[in-house]
């Protein structure tokens, strides 16, 4: 090649290309420890969600509890007396101690008969472990250890003969994080974190999580995986739209805004879904008529999508919440005035 300068330039540019291609190839075929290079999207609790989870949901309980929306409907909640009883027993104040909750569903055979066995709930809060442990033992639970984590499991004697049955358990997996679900899902959660093979390494799911923006509650999932294990009657299963992925995200503050997105199996299904949703929306707009709050809600709904995606965005403004609050007061005047 003609001169030194040209050779250097070719070498530098060639190196950039080679490094990029090499990194991509290694990541594609051998997997990449993402945490080494960057933080993954979503909360840290996702590292405790097994990689085979079909649905993952998250709620920032602190945000929701502090929101104007919640303050508005506080009067409809259980009485202070019931809350005090719960706090006295568990040492947990739901209003101030819970920060966030992550829920996941791991579909498995027999899920229809034992849905609780497929769920995992991860709650981050300020716990008093000794108090909770004592309370559980008092109610007949048993304390065990699994991979260095304390797990409290319940025993249901009558259920031993049921092959689908799995004891319920909760484990203290971090100082401020508890996993709750069936014994097998709690153990799977501990394993998922230890082996680094968790939902964060599930690219399809993380792509959806990464797209969520400015939401204090969201859920993403593989719709067909749930539908196939849910044991739905054939007639209903056939009538359901052919959706592969979905995501729903909401932001709760003064009002509520949110988006729902779904990916259909093909473009024709997506178009049908958009048409059906469009029809419902038109009907809702007609029905809303001269009710300003509902009219505003209907107007805020936007259906969009391209190819095999369908999206619905909505916003419930505080004016509409005023209307709903008025309706609630009309139905439960005594409770509201408390």
């Amino acid at each position: 090649m003609s001169n030194k300068k040209t050779r250097y330039f070719v070498a530098i540019m060639g190196t950039i290309l080679a490094v990029g291609l090499g990194t991509g190839l290694v990541a594609s075929y051998m997997g990449l420890p993402v945490s080494v290079f960057s933080s993954a999207a979503g909360p840290d609790e996702l590292q405790y969600v097994p990689a085979d989870a079909a649905v993952v949901a998250y709620a920032n309980v602190r945000d929701v509890m502090n929101s104007q929306f919640r303050q508005r409907f506080k009067s409809l909640e259980p009485s202070q007396n019931e809350k005090n009883q719960f706090e006295e027993k568990t040492g947990l104040n739901l209003e101030t101690d819970v920060d966030s909750v992550v829920a996941a569903v791991m579909p498995k055979d027999g899920m229809a008969n034992n849905p609780a066995g497929s769920f995992l709930i991860l709650a981050r809060a300020r716990y008093q472990p000794s108090r909770l442990e004592a309370l559980a033992i008092e109610h007949g639970a048993e304390v065990t250890e699994y991979n260095g984590k304390r797990i409290i499991r319940t025993h249901e004697g009558g259920a031993a003969a049921d092959p689908n049955h799995d004891d319920m358990a909760f484990g203290f997996i971090e100082a401020d994080l508890v996993a709750f679900g069936s014994l097998s899902t709690v153990k799977a959660s501990i394993d998922a974190h230890a082996s680094n093979h968790n939902i964060v390494s599930n690219n399809e799911m993380m792509k959806l999580v990464n797209e969520i923006d400015n939401a204090n509650a969201w859920a993403v999932g593989k719709f067909d995986a749930i539908a196939s294990k849910a044991g739905l009657p054939n007639e209903i299963a056939q009538a359901m739209p052919q959706i592969s992925w979905f995501s729903a995200a909401g932001h709760i503050n003064g009002g509520v805004s949110g988006t729902f997105k779904a990916e259909a199996k093909d473009e024709a299904t997506a178009k049908n879904l958009r048409d059906v949703m469009g029809g419902f929306l038109a009907m809702a707009k007609m029905q809303a008529g001269n009710k300003p709050g509902l009219q505003q809600l209907a107007d805020s709904m936007v259906i969009s999508g391209e190819g095999n995606t369908v999206a619905l965005a909505f916003s419930i403004p505080s004016e509409l919440l005023d209307v709903l609050e008025g309706m609630a007061k009309g139905r439960h005047p005594g409770q509201i005035q408390q």
């Binding site: 990029g20 594609s28 792509k207 997105k261």
Partner: protein, 292 residues
Amino acid sequence: MTATESTDGAEKAIKPMLHSFKRMSFFEASRRVFDLSLGEMLWSRRTIFMGLVVGGPVLLAVIVKLVETFGMSALRVNGQRVAGFGIFGVMIWMLFLRFIIPVLGVFYGTALMADEVEDKTITYLFTRPIPRGAVLVGKFLAYLACTFLVVLPSVMIVYFLLVPLSQLPGTFPSLLVDLGLIALGLAVYGGVFSFVGAFFKRPLVIGLIFAFGWEQVVLALPGYLKQFTIAYYLQALVPHAMPSDGVASLLQGMFRENPPAMVCLFWLFAYLGGFLYLATRVVEKKEYILEQ
């Protein structure tokens, strides 16, 4: 020593050199011209222009990355956040495929022969004992090396800036398609415009009219005319959703057809081979008259 003897000696000395030049194959001649042209092309003012053009997307990607680092969303469509790979797809469509590739094809492709004519240096190349067509092919290969070395790393940098590493395994095959497509696009546009540069007197104007007039208008119309564009076949192979950013884009999206990938590849390679062959034929046959 007489004068005749001295001439004979010089002839004897030059003869093997002339012989080796005469024996130079088309391939070897092209390689020599490539070697000569690559340095010239890389360190020309045109490369500064190319650096600015491909530096734009890199700068944009850095800004997007910074915005997202602060927890804000850089791009929203219908109130929905467009994530890193979505933005990368938009950049591939709007910056690389619709602008950078045609513009580089026009500026470099038309200049391959036209610059030599304008600088009146074509005589020096044509007096060498090499096939005239090899001059064009060598220069075309230098153009490919030059643009690949600048554009492809820029796409790679934009990709790694925009796409989170967690999404890398799922999106990397699309990047490979994008890189292949951009390389093919540069080659085809370069081939077409090298013919324009060799054949016409005002090649730059004709090239710009073709890339930003003919192609854009025809793609937004119904009918078969769009088959006489490069963009029609190139855009059908893009693995990203087509963005609708204006009336022209909306119309192009409306009348967009997606011919099978093999058909697109066949026609793109046919355009490349066909126009490159025509360009070499023109260079072989044409009498370039240098303006005094």
